[in-house]
Symmetry: C2
Amino acid sequence: MPDTERSRRRPEFRKGRPTLTRERIARAALEILGDAGPAELTMRNVGERLGVSPRALYNYVDDRRDLLGEIVAVCQADRPVPRLDPGDWRDSLRAYCRELRGWYRGHPGMLALARAEDLTPFTSPDMLRADDAVVAFFLDIGLSPAAARRAWSVTVLQVAGFAEVWDTWHDRPPPGAEPAAWTGIPPAASDADLPHLRAVAGAAEAPDELFETVMTMLVAGVEAMF
Amino acid sequence: MPDTERSRRRPEFRKGRPTLTRERIARAALEILGDAGPAELTMRNVGERLGVSPRALYNYVDDRRDLLGEIVAVCQADRPVPRLDPGDWRDSLRAYCRELRGWYRGHPGMLALARAEDLTPFTSPDMLRADDAVVAFFLDIGLSPAAARRAWSVTVLQVAGFAEVWDTWHDRPPPGAEPAAWTGIPPAASDADLPHLRAVAGAAEAPDELFETVMTMLVAGVEAMF
DNA sequence: ACCTGAACACCGTTCAAGT
DNA sequence: ACCTGAACACCGTTCAAGT
C-alpha cells in the first residue's frame, strides 16, 4: 500500500471513537454550557461527554482556562460578517442586528460564561474586524467620527443587551417560570397587589416584536445623530 | 440588674467580634462578589472574611443556595423606589433610570451572579412593586396597556442592558485592558488593520454621556408609542 | 446556643505508569 | 503518542464533639 498522501494524516478515529481534538473538546463544552450552564462546565463532565477520562483532555488543552479560549475561538468563527449597504442603511442595519442577535442566541450560555469568568484576554484582533466594518458603515452614511462611534456603541448595546437581558431568560426560562414578566420575576404570590402589572399582563409581546421595537428606536436614534 | 427590656436581646458582640447574622454573612459575600467575582464566592472565603470557620455559617444559612437568596434580599432592600411625575414625564423617567443604573452599579458582580446561577426563584412579589409603579406611570401618561407594557420592557432593557454590557466591564476593566473599545476587546495587535475603529478611537465617550444618549433614544421611543 | 475539626464526595490538575 | 488510575489541594456539606 503506497502512501498516496504526502504526509500521513492524523487518523479520524481511534478504537471506534472519533479522535480528540481541541475543537471537538470545545464543542462538547459548548453543549454542556447550553444544556446545564457554566457551573456544570467541568473538566470531568467534558471528559465524560466524550467518553474519556478527564486526564485525556490535558493532552490537547493546557488547562481549563485554555479550554475557555478555544470555546471563544469556536464561537467567533461563525460570527456573522456584516453585509451593510450604505444606500439602504436602515434596513441593512436592522438585518445585521437580527443576524447578530441570532448568533448570540445560537450560543446559549456564552454570555453567562463571559460574565462568570473573564473572557476578554482571549479576544484577537480578527474578532474586531466585524466591528471595524460596522464603524466604516456609519462613517460611510455620513456620520462624524464621534457620531459613528456613538452609533456603533449603541448598536452593540441594543443587540447584546437584548440577547443578555431578554433572550437569555426567555429562551431557557427556569423550571417553574412563565415568560410573563421582565427579567424573570413573574410568578409572584397571587395575594400581592400589583394591579398595574396585572392589567398589562395580557398585553405581553413576543420577543421578536419587542426586538423590532428596539430596532425602530435604534434607527431613529442614529437618524438623530446626523 | 433588672431586665428592663421585655425580652433579652440577642447580644451584638461575642468575644469582641460582632455576632453573625444572615445579613452580615450576605454582606461579606457581597464584598467578595464585588472584589473578586462569583467564582471566589465560596463558603470558605465568606467564613474567612468573617474570621470564622466555614461550618459556623451553617448555623444561619441552610446552604450556599440559601445564602444567595439572602444576598438577593439585601440588594433588593435598597432598590430605588420610583418617584415619577406624569406631569414631567420625560425628566422623571430619565431621573429614575439614572437612579436604577446607579443601583445596579452599586452592587457589582450581582448581574454576573444572576447569570451564573439562577436567581429567579428568590424573587418575591415585593420586588415587583417598583415595576408595578413604573407601569402605572406609563398608563398614567396616556399609553395604552400594550404600549405601557412595551415602554416598561424597553426601559428595563435599556438600563439593565447598559449596566450589564457597558458598566460591568467599564467599572472593573480586566487587569491589562484599556476602556477603549466596546465589550472589552480593544487592545488588539498593532499590526492588524482595523482602520475605522482606529479612526474613531479618539472620539471615545464617557459612559455617562453614552447613557444620556441612550436615555434620549428611550424618551423618543416612548414618545412614538402614543 | 454556637463554635471547631475531621471527614466525605466533589472539583482542577499532576504524576506515574500502562499500551 | 495517547490513554488510565492514583493522588493532591481545593470546594460544599455533614457529623461528632467541644464550650
